[in-house]
Amino acid sequence: MATDETGGPIRRSLDGLLDALLAYDRASADVLATTRRDAERVAKALSAAGPDGAALADQVMELVAAGVAAAGEELAVATEAFASETGALSDLLAEPPASGASPGPVPAQATTSGEDAGQAEDEAVDDALADEELLERQSSADAERAPTSSTVPDHVREAYGALFDAAIRDDIMAMVVTNDAGHAIQLHGPDVSDEALKARVSWKKDPMGRTDPKNDWRRDPDGSVHSKHGVGHVAGKFTSLEALAKPLRTLLDHCGGTIADLHDYLERNRGLRDAMIFVPAEDANLVPGDTTAYRGEGTQAEETAEQWRMQRRDAMELGGEPVPIVRTDPIARGMDPGVTMIFRKIDRTWVMITCYPEAEPRPSSSRWEERIRDGSDARL
């Protein structure tokens, strides 16, 4: 596939930075306008104050709190986008451009948000500096040396099985371990090395080392890397078998405890083929340290994640500099963390295809979680 005609990764980063600046500016202005409107309402309410002073005071508190919360949330999102784009740009500028292209001068952008903008910019710089300290990069040569394994050793199988009641142990083993379709332990278990996780997210290298067309990985002498292995901008794992087993145990308990109960639950909640279940971290008793992951730097917002994935694509295609990654603990650091489990019915029985930690639920699983908590029929 051809590279971007408009000038490659540096140009894209510049565009991304400018977009982020504009978005930041708009969001800040909106929030401030809202706060001002709220303040006007408060003033009006107070000017009409009669004997009901206390009730009005409560109203004031509510409005102010709502305004502050909205400002905080919007500014945080904008600040993060700003910080990550700035980081990406400075990283690229620190390296000699592969194509010899010059990024050119950065046009000045006027911000309209006054003092608050100044403070948010300071925070953005702090964020960028904090991310810088955590930054890691793995060369494609190191990725090539990262270990792979597609088998689950017997002692690991036994240790996993021992985490479940003897009455259902064999069924759970068949569901999670002793089938050809599932890869929860192989891709997200404690034995996946840091180097394998880094190679997965940075260079799309399958930690299982599969060689089918969808997973085959190759590094050519020119440094270019070829792979279609399915991974987005984060690769995570559980740090112990106990942690990996927690969400399934939670789900089992909720369903009634037998394998038949679990099968019924999955049948009721399946999509067209798979049943995808998101269990919030607190429901699964997952705690900080139970998970670890590498994610692309600055990928917490979708638009910056997209930029990062394009950088990775360029790095792979051109044999370029490794993309910046950051180590994280999705359970400890996520906004609304939990575990996604995906089950598929194969030969009339359900197998767990995968099970991985997430910093926040994705769209439909987010609703799913709310409905679970609402007490509707798929309650967890």
Binding site: A2, E5, K228, G232, G271, L272, M276, R362
Partner: protein, 177 residues
């Protein structure tokens, strides 16, 4: 209308692209089977109708808590294209020009389902491209969304007033008090 439970169940397979995009890709390669298999065809048809309604009314809730309604709508348009091709969803108020797909508009299937080089392509991937009049060489990695149209906010407010959708938290300052 709010998303139905069954829509969510079907949609869940398409929402794992951060970590496991294979499920999205496999879903896009299963359309023909889902449309013809007696066990799935009614559910899939209902999903298709509901997806179109959410694109029309901006009534599917945004991706995660950080995303805007507009970006979510655009994500749904990408999914529609990835499943059904360039004919826009019925009633789509902001259809993507058909020629933009793959050239100025990049979708998750293009990102994760299409190989860099034609010779690495799988059979389902070739069929997907052919059905959309594209070749490997046509694809240009790029933006997956467009800027929010000027009249969009107004439209959201009207649809919210009319009860076709519910405002999401990021819109709360525009809610009438």
């Amino acid at each position: 209308m709010e998303a139905t439970r069954d829509y969510d169940r079907v949609m869940s397979s398409f929402s794992t692209t951060d970590a496991e995009p294979d499920f999205y890709v496999e879903g896009c390669e299963s359309v023909e089977r889902w449309e013809n298999d007696s066990e799935s065809k009614d559910r899939f048809a209902a999903f298709r109708d509901e997806l179109a309604a959410h694109i029309r009314d901006s009534s599917d809730r945004p991706l995660g808590r950080r995303e805007s309604q507009w970006r979510n709508d655009e994500w749904l348009r990408n999914l529609w294209y990835d499943l059904f091709g360039p004919e826009p969803a019925p009633g789509d108020p902001y259809p993507v020009p058909p020629d933009d797909w793959g050239r100025r508009r990049y979708t998750p299937y293009m990102e994760y389902g299409v190989s860099d080089r034609a010779e690495d392509g799988t059979e389902p991937e070739r069929a997907w491209l052919a059905a959309r009049g594209l070749t490997h060489g046509d694809l240009r990695p790029g933006a997956s969304t467009r800027p929010q149209p000027e009249d969009y906010q107004e439209r959201l407010e009207r649809l919210t007033r009319e009860g076709a959708r519910q405002a999401v938290p990021s819109e709360r300052w525009s809610e009438p008090s």
